[in-house]
Amino acid sequence: MAELETFYDVIRRQGISRRSFLKFCSLAAASMGLGPAFAPKIAHAMETKPRIPVVWIHGLECTCCSESFIRSAHPLAKDVILSMISLDYDPVIMAAAGDQAEAALEDTITKYKGNYILAVEGNPPLNEDGMFCIVGGKPFVEQLRHAAKDAMAVISWGSCASWGCVQAAAPNPTQATPVHKVITDKPIIKVPGCPPIAEVMTGIVTYLLTFGTLPEMDRQGRPKMFYSQRIHDKCYRRPHFDAGQFVEQWDDEAARKGYCLYKMGCKGPTTYNACSTTRWNEGVSFPIQSGHGCIGCSEDGFWDKGSFYDRLTTIPQFGVESTADTVGLTAAGAAGAAIATHAAISAVKRARAGGTNDKSE
């Protein structure tokens, strides 16, 4: 196996002296509350721990995950790509193209067998043998299977890789399929969102590097540190929800005052993501803060759950889509009418039969 560049190598390559490096290790130990004896251990780890090679492949997607990723501020995307990981293949941002690029992929897979991380943006379409997405002359699903075979772990970037997203929305003509349904024998970290928050993406990469293990994940395979709470739980408009103060129309006084967008169909109460805490673009804002409800882009099948402006899923019936309340009210009305009719017929029948239970006793 080829030598992997260690963190120490990178630090030295960037012109930092060994003296500064050792100072950093002592400081790191102190800041983590560890004794002086740990400074050499940290130095040892930095000197020996290799930079993790990452292979980033693209299936059916819109590249919004990459667009988000390169906007990460903490840490900066350039630090992640150039210092923290060894991004060996990513057709979107790599300099090489064509055969050269494909060769880089093969190189990494063979050289770092079982030691690299496979990041998947987008998903494979399975219909027509995968012909709806061709990469390097072959169906993407083949590249995915090939690259996943020797990967240490798989990161499913975005809602495409995690759930299927828009290309898997009904009727899903290309049979676009999320990664975990194609790759079943590798640990998969789902980082849903359309796109995921930049800092969430780099945060997960940083976690993998720092601890060398997968982060703690929830029942659906999402890292708990970013996806264990709903937007609603940490929304700065939550006090308006509890007070019963809602925007009723996009242009009303309540909208200007920044009341809760619940009645406008905000999906914050059913969406697990870090938008209301981490926010976007260096913490500048997030959808609710800019006055629009959450559309639940990090949730499973969010395209197929009806309007972005309804909190409840529309229920298809007889070819017409309807909300739960319409169905309920219609059913209750029908039942009420049926009961009234039934009661009337019962009364008539009883009157005809003689009114009372004369024949009894």
Partner: protein, 242 residues
């Protein structure tokens, strides 16, 4: 079909020698009756507050600090939900220790051909195709069927989905989440869980409408008491014919 009072019912009530003169049987024991009415009240609170959680009242004005309307509505919903859920647990307990009628909500005599025949009979009775109804001490087979599939299973679903939704807010380290969070394995996007919980409310509204109508109608038209039975526990028969 002749009505043969269960000896277990008579033992507590009348001398066995009077069995053929029995006009009243003690069916619903006090805990069952009490549960029935507490549960009914809880359901009314749950349906009304639940509806207003789904479709909130018109917005209050002023500052958020001056109001807590949604908070109170949600509190009432959650408090009633606990009464509903704990009541259901107590009711299950009573099915074990109470009389055999207390078990009717939880058991189905699926292999009893007569039971199925009587379901058809009851359907015909409700469709005005039978002149005279039969006598039953407990629920009639059709009511029994509906009670089990709509009420018992419906209650279980509402409790499970409700506590899973509650657990979302209470956090993933909460008791509610650890006991009912598995519901999200069935509904990965909890928007669907909200939707089906909401549909469940309408199922209970329909159930209550039909239940109340049927009870009053049967009280008038059938050969046994209905409404007063859930108050006194006594099933009274209007005639002595089988």
């Amino acid at each position: 079909m002749t009505i043969q009072p269960d000896p277990r019912d008579l033992a507590v009530h009348e001398e066995p020698s009077h069995a053929h003169h029995v006009t009243s049987v003690y069916v619903y024991e006090a805990p069952v009756r009490l549960w029935h009415w507490i549960n009914a009240l809880a359901l009314v609170v749950l349906a009304v507050t639940g509806y207003f959680i789904g479709s909130p009242l018109h917005s209050t004005g002023g500052e958020a600090i001056e109001h807590f309307l949604m908070g109170y509505i949600r509190f009432a919903h959650f408090a009633a939900a606990y009464i509903f859920a704990i009541g259901f647990l107590v009711r299950i307990y009573w099915a074990f220790v109470g009389n055999h009628h207390a078990r009717q909500l939880f058991t189905l005599p699926l292999w009893n051909a007569n039971w199925w025949k009587d379901i058809v009979f009851e359907l015909k009775w409700y469709l005005f195709l039978e002149k005279e109804p039969k006598k039953y001490i407990g629920h009639n087979p059709l009511a029994h069927f509906v009670m089990f599939f709509v009420f018992t299973l419906g209650t279980a679903f509402m409790i499970a989905s409700g506590f899973a939704l509650y657990g979302e807010g209470a956090g993933h380290d909460s008791l509610q989440w650890s006991t009912f969070g598995w519901m999200t394995a069935i509904f990965p996007n909890t928007q669907d869980l909200h939707t089906w919980h909401h549909v469940g409310m309408w199922v209970f509204v329909l159930f209550a409408m039909i239940h109340i109508y049927a009870a009053i109608r049967e009280d008038i038209m059938s050969r046994q008491s209905m409404v007063s039975t859930m108050i006194s526990g006594e099933r009274m028969f209007k005639d002595n014919r089988p």
